[in-house]
């Protein structure tokens, strides 16, 4: 278009200005993708913890900590409002936690399949293979989450080694964008055995392997309030701590909201700076074209037309900056995800929404930055502008 040619008049200046927007959009895209990822994790977590009470040993956190007993499950099952209690054993896949950044570290997750009697509502979909069944108890089989499967480069039928023990892969999950992607689900007995090995002999000797649990999931009866049940459990069972969906939202949700705000804030700040650069460039461009504007006004261009020309030009600057920023942001998030894949850490989720709104925002920012210079241009007196040197 004609107007793009106007940008070509001062190539260096246009390039520098566009680069300002590019950097701002790139930051917004990258940080926005990070925020998307965090949101997905948190949402997944929140969904999971809703409508149930998670019991773990006091001093532990989300299942990583001390030992409970499956006998506690029976005790809790007798409390009012409690429907089903499912014991589980969770332990880290690797003891080395240095690679952990965002999200959950890879975990081994053992439970008796079907023990929830259908109460579990968190959707789990299988990409290949099958789910674990109660009949698998006693075998060494595993269902892998999508990220772990990729890390092991495993398919159904392969054998993988978890904590020095061989397991056969019977199923692989679809990506969930949250914790299960990083989990290896095994039968309860297998997990209990693995867990025992992590304990010192002194402790291990005193435990009955078959009664080991690191967490209990308590499903309420329909209509029962998980909060009340959590309070009851706290009152009646010693040495444990409970967590409900509300607890999760409060603890994690608040922290991640703030993180989101900081990330987006940084991105927006970069854009404001880029926008100021556009205003500056357009102002200079208008000043340099004073005479030309005078000519156009003299031969009949309305004030509105002059304004439109300037605003469209600066919108194009925004658009080009937005597209290149998006492109660079895409490269960065893709490289980042590839780099993190080996440690099963996917950091970025660049959604279509993020991409589209970033480019749209850049274009609108460009147009808005052009308003003031455009307004000044349209107010020039044609006669004086014509004579301008």
């Amino acid at each position: 278009m004609r107007l793009v040619r106007d940008l070509g008049r001062r190539k260096l200046r246009s390039t520098l200005t566009i680069t300002g927007i590019t950097i701002g959009i790139m930051a917004l895209v990258v940080f926005g993708s990070m925020a998307n990822k965090i949101d997905a994790l948190v949402k997944g977590g929140s969904e999971y913890y809703q409508g149930k009470v998670t019991v773990s040993a006091k001093g532990g956190y989300m299942g990583l900590g001390g030992v409970l007993s499956t006998k506690m499950a029976d005790q809790i099952a007798t409390l009012a409002g409690v429907d089903v209690v499912v014991p589980s054993v969770q332990l880290m896949l690797n003891d080395d936690v240095s690679g952990v950044s965002m999200g959950t570290p890879p975990m081994i997750d053992g439970a008796v399949a079907g023990a929830d009697k259908g109460r579990e509502t968190f959707p789990i979909h299988y990409a290949t293979g099958r789910a674990l069944t109660a009949a698998d108890e006693g075998s060494r089989v595993v269902v892998l989450g999508s990220d772990l499967a990729r890390q092991f480069n495993a398919q159904v039928g392969d054998t993988v080694t978890l904590r020095n023990v061989k397991f056969q892969v019977v199923g692989i999950l679809e990506p969930t964008l949250t914790a299960p992607d990083n989990s290896a689900m095994v039968p309860l007995a297998a997990a209990q055995q693995l867990y025992v090995r992590t304990l010192s002999d002194l402790v291990a000797d005193r435990l009955n392997v078959n009664e080991i649990a690191t967490g209990l999931v308590v499903y309420p009866k329909p209509g029962a309030d998980p909060e009340k049940i959590a309070d009851e459990i706290d009152a009646n069972v010693a040495g444990i701590t409970t967590m409900t969906g509300k607890d999760f939202d409060q603890q994690i949700g608040a922290a991640t909201s703030m993180l989101n705000a900081i990330l987006i804030g940084i991105g927006l700040l970069s854009l404001v700076i880029g926008g100021l650069s556009v205003i500056n460039t357009m102002a200079m461009s208008v000043a340099e074209r004073t005479r030309e504007i005078g000519i156009k006004r003299a031969i009949g261009a309305s004030r509105w037309r002059i304004r439109r020309e300037i605003v469209i030009e600066s919108a194009i600057i925004g658009l080009i900056g937005g597209l290149t920023g998006l492109g660079l942001g895409y490269v960065i998030t893709t490289l980042g995800n590839d780099a993190g894949r080996s440690s099963a850490t996917i950091l970025f989720d660049l959604t279509f929404g993020t991409a589209f709104s970033s480019v749209a925002f850049a274009t609108i920012l460009g147009a808005a930055a052009g308003f003031i210079p455009a307004w000044h241009a349209s107010r020039l007196d044609p006669v004086t502008a014509l004579r301008y040197e």
């Binding site: 004609r2 040619r5 106007d6 008049r9 005479r291 030309e292 000519i295 156009k296 006004r297 003299a298 031969i299 009949g300 261009a301 309305s302 004030r303 037309r305 044609p382 006669v383 014509l386």
Partner: protein, 252 residues
């Protein structure tokens, strides 16, 4: 029929807080359709200012005297808004400047089409009108060249084509030969005369060049913000009263 008529045209410019310039002190003017009129006078005589008012670039001052009157084709245009004046300039007038004033990033054809665009000519018609206008000034082969690739004379001819593309009621030219050598000046002058004689195009020009003045139907001479001689050969010379006073005083 008078295509452009003005009475009580005054204009004072405020250059700074204390520095005002009374550029036009009360001008009466009438231009017939099909006339080619030159406005001449020394610097500061107000000829450019008169041109700007006739071209609706500025509005005449409404205060400090009888109300100004300005008619274009019989229509009262003395106190129009900026937008209204801009519309009339775009659709019914054509302008030629001393410095050619073409848009440097556009080709000759695009420069002419721009004026058509402002005049509301759209699409295919716009292109055709521009091509026709360039043909009238003999520059079709240079249509795709940018101003920097054209000579001064060629640029001014493009400017002329631009002024013609909307088939204006009147063309206003401010020193159209001012930046051209004598050969190119003659070329441009010949073109203007051609449009005037063959197509009846009304042309008003401001000039210093006596030759240009002689090529016109009449010459309006200005001095100190007033018309001293409106060049009408058939009617009495309207000398301004202030000019007559010293003579009367002397003879008293």
């Amino acid at each position: 029929m008078a295509i452009l008529e003005g009475r009580n045209l005054r204009k004072t410019y405020k250059l700074s807080r204390r520095n005002t310039v009374e550029a036009l002190k009360g001008v009466e003017i009438s231009i017939e359709q099909g006339e080619m009129v030159a406005i001449m006078g020394p610097s500061g005589s107000g000829k450019s200012t008169l041109m700007h008012i006739l071209g609706l670039l500025h509005a005449p001052d409404p205060n400090h005297g009888p109300a100004p009157e300005l008619y274009l084709g019989g229509e009262n245009v003395a106190s129009l808004s900026d937008n209204a004046r801009t519309r009339i300039r775009a659709r019914r007038m054509g302008f030629v400047f001393q410095d050619f004033n073409l848009v440097p990033t556009l080709t000759a054809l695009e420069n002419v089409m721009l004026a058509g665009d402002y005049a509301g000519i759209r699409g295919k018609q716009a292109r055709q009108a521009a091509v026709d206008a360039l043909a009238l000034v003999g520059l079709n082969e240079r249509a795709d060249h940018k101003p920097v690739e054209l000579s001064g004379g060629e640029q001014q001819r493009v400017a002329l084509a631009r002024a013609l593309v909307n088939k204006p009621e009147i063309i206003l030219a401010d020193e159209p030969t001012g930046n051209l050598d004598s050969d190119r000046s003659a070329e441009v002058l010949a073109l203007l005369r051609q449009f005037n004689r063959e197509h009846g195009q009304t042309i008003v020009l401001v000039t210093h060049d006596a030759e240009v003045g002689e090529a016109c139907d009449r010459v309006i001479r200005m001095r100190d913000g007033r018309i001293r001689d409106d060049g009408q050969r058939t009617s009495v010379n309207r000398a301004t009263p202030t000019m007559a006073l010293p003579a009367m005083a002397a003879s008293a």
